[in-house]
């Protein structure tokens, strides 16, 4: 590292430091504004902030890395232009010093850029994204998702809390869930591969035909959010979206009661073909 620093100073490019510092400061100052204006909607699930904080960490790390690359790229470009009678510095880069330098930089890069992020990501996955509650966990809200060209079919248990019964609430492109309860999905598809994408919840999971995938989130905010398909599924892929309604705790029981009542009113015992529900996968 000393060598690098001395190279930079020896190269009389200290004038670069001022604009660089200014740039860095203004970037940091405007970062929040940029995210507010251009970034994703604020996280609405309990684990959503994990994405945002890891994203910022990676942005910082690679921002610094890229700045170093940029400086090392620009300095020779501005300084070392070919001049008559001036030869380049002859160096094959095979000295022990160079090898050590390369090794040190590699280790530093691996630890700072990779290992750090890796450890954070593993933590996030195990504690949040992949920590799907088992189907028999009390208090979870189960949702069966049957994707099709080009719509989302949702089935939620209704007041009896069990799937596969006449009071199940079956909706197309609309899903209503309570706040503060883990919502656990079982996803599959009738035809092609789809992908359930809840941008506000920072959740995405493929729905594959012939297999069941699991995913979960817990809403931290009530309101209406978007449901999108993130895997190309044909011509109307772009239209395959729905709405996720997250209801406050106070409103949800009443909603669920009405929904079940209406589901029972619509239930037709003779129409066996309309049934779908499955054994739950953990």
């Amino acid at each position: 590292m000393n060598r690098l620093v001395s190279l930079v100073s020896r190269a009389r490019v200290r004038w670069l430091a001022t604009p660089a510092a200014l740039l860095l400061a203004s970037t940091a100052a405007s970062a929040q504004e940029v995210v507010d204006r251009w970034g994703p909607t604020p996280p609405a699930s309990t684990y959503g902030p994990r994405f945002d904080s890891l994203f910022s960490l990676i942005t910082t790390l690679i921002g610094i890395s890229f700045l170093i690359v940029l400086v090392m790229l620009l300095v020779p470009c501005l300084r070392d232009n070919a001049k008559k009678g001036k030869k380049a510095h002859f160096d094959h880069g095979t000295s022990l010093h160079d090898k050590r330098f390369t090794a040190v930089v590699s280790v530093v890069v691996f630890i700072v850029l990779d290992a750090w992020v890796l450890v954070r990501a593993m933590g996030d996955l195990r504690e949040a994204y992949w920590n799907v509650p088992a189907p028999d966990t009390p208090g979870i809200f189960k949702v069966e998702v049957l994707a099709q060209q080009w719509a989302w079919n949702f089935r939620t248990p209704g007041v009896d809390g069990e799937l596969g019964t006449p009071d199940d609430v079956i909706t197309i492109n609309e899903l209503t869930v309570p706040i503060g309860r883990p919502v656990v999905f079982n996803l599959t598809s009738k035809d092609v591969i789809h992908s359930l994408f809840l941008p506000d919840m920072r959740l995405k999971r493929d729905a594959n035909p012939g297999a069941i995938n699991v995913a979960w989130f817990e809403a931290a905010k009530s309101g209406d959010f978007d449901i999108l398909c993130a895997e190309l599924c044909g011509y109307a892929h772009y239209q395959m979206h729905g709405k996720l309604h997250v209801l406050p705790e106070a409103d949800f029981p009443a909603w669920e009661k009405d929904a079940s009542a209406l589901a029972l009113a619509a239930y037709d015992a003779n129409d066996t073909e309309a049934r779908w529900a499955w054994d739950w996968k953990e």
């Binding site: 060209q149 309604h245 909603w255 073909e273």
Partner: protein, 404 residues
């Protein structure tokens, strides 16, 4: 035709595997059936028949009722080279062969149009020989956009239609629910284009981003699937545009329209199938106020919609019943204009025309147009105030249920 361009690569395979490359469909089906019987699996719905490539080429022209143009006279004037006016062009005969009527008409010198010009008819229709190329184009777009639900054969058994309620239309019946042309009438091309352009809310029938030209092609293809008795091949049938409910009488008085709508809705008994949105006492008040005789008691579950027997939906072999919508809960199918905004006009047209194949009758003629408009406004008001607004809806419901 599907394998034709593949010969280069598959020739080797086909050569070393004679007889296996294209086993007959019957053999394959036979094995499948045998297999299923052996394991005594339940009979699978036709949604999941074996995937296969299809031939999109339509080989024969079809004579179909078409009205691409605003009026037929317009077309004839625009292209005088092609048409000539003939008096007594058509002379329909009854079974004994006696001429029962005479129609004047334009004759298409190119032989592609056989037509009837009826000055009495509001909508001008003519019977055109739709070319096989045009049907093929329509078939292509049909396969791409429609077949996943409506089926490769147009029978409503698309692969994605499994478990879907309400089930997709069976085009081999040739009837359409939301064209708004009246229960008995055949919809004009424009009415069908409108339906596809706007889509049906709450179903996978989206507003499709096809151009008008593509849609017209698809629509001709879909018509060509319909049975003879549906009328699309009947020279003397008439196609209709959306039902005419006149100018909006309420433009300056939306409040009044909603108030009047509430009265009409509960007076004529919409709550027999749909929910009632006022208390029974208020219904009595309304009925009496309109000069009727109050019943005093109404069905217990007045706040819920109710399946009535004649709403059984039994075309194409599905036996399913469809719940009339609760406007504060369900999304209604065809209440939007082309811009995607809820429109009193569209709702009123649905009320006026009824919904073919369901329990919703045609109200045009049973009440003044002004009242039909009022219902349109009232339903729009219900949707805007309560749909997707759980708190507002809960408040209304607790009021209706007497605090429960």
């Amino acid at each position: 035709m599907t394998a034709r361009p593949l010969l280069l690569v598959t020739a080797a395979l086909a050569l070393v595997a004679p007889g296996f490359a294209t086993p007959g469909d019957e053999t394959a089906a036979g094995h499948d059936a045998g297999n299923a019987a052996e394991h005594s699996e339940p009979e699978l719905p036709p949604h999941s028949r074996a995937p296969h490539q299809v031939d999109v080429t339509v080989h024969d022209d079809a004579w179909l009722l078409v009205n691409d143009y605003d009026t037929f006279g317009e077309l004839a004037e625009a292209d005088p080279e092609r048409f000539e006016f003939v008096e007594g062009l058509l002379e329909p005969k009854d079974e004994s062969g006696e001429v029962i009527d005479t129609y004047d008409g334009y004759r298409d010198k190119t032989g592609r149009v056989e037509l009837r010009y009826d000055p009495e008819a509001e909508d001008v229709a003519y019977f055109e020989r739709v070319s096989a190329e045009r049907l093929t184009r329509g078939h292509e777009n049909y396969i791409q956009y429609c077949a996943s639900c409506h089926g490769l054969e147009g029978d409503g058994y698309g692969r994605s239609a499994q478990h879907l309620r309400p089930p997709p239309r069976d085009f081999r019946v040739g009837k359409f629910k939301f064209t708004k042309v009246g229960v008995e009438n055949l919809p004009s091309d424009q009415a069908l284009v409108d339906l596809v352009k706007k889509g049906l809310d709450g179903t996978p029938m989206y507003p499709w981003a096809l151009t008008e030209g593509q849609l017209l092609d698809v629509i001709q293809y879909i018509k060509s699937l319909s049975p003879p008795e549906s009328g699309w091949r009947d020279v003397y049938a008439v196609v209709k545009g959306p039902v005419d409910i006149g100018e909006d009488p309420w433009t300056n008085d939306v409040q009044g329209a909603v108030a009047r709508g509430e009265i009409v809705y509960h007076n004529v008994g919409c709550f027999n199938c749909h929910p009632g949105y006022v208390t029974p006492a208020r219904i009595d008040e309304i009925v009496t106020g309109e000069g009727g005789i109050a019943k005093g008691s109404y069905r217990e579950d007045l706040t819920l919609p109710k399946i009535v027997p004649n709403t059984m939906y039994q075309v194409q072999g599905y036996k399913t019943s469809i719940l009339p919508p609760d406007f504060t809960w369900h999304s209604i199918r065809a209440g939007r204009d082309r811009q995607g905004n809820l429109s009193a006009l569209e709702i009123a047209r649905t009320v006026g025309s009824g919904i073919a194949g369901s329990g919703m009758p045609q109200w045009k003629g049973s009440m003044p147009d002004k009242d039909i408009w009022a219902i349109g406004y009232y339903v729009r008001h219900l949707i805007e105030t309560y749909h997707g607004k759980p708190q507002a809806r809960a408040a209304l419901m607790s009021e209706l249920r007497g605090g429960n």
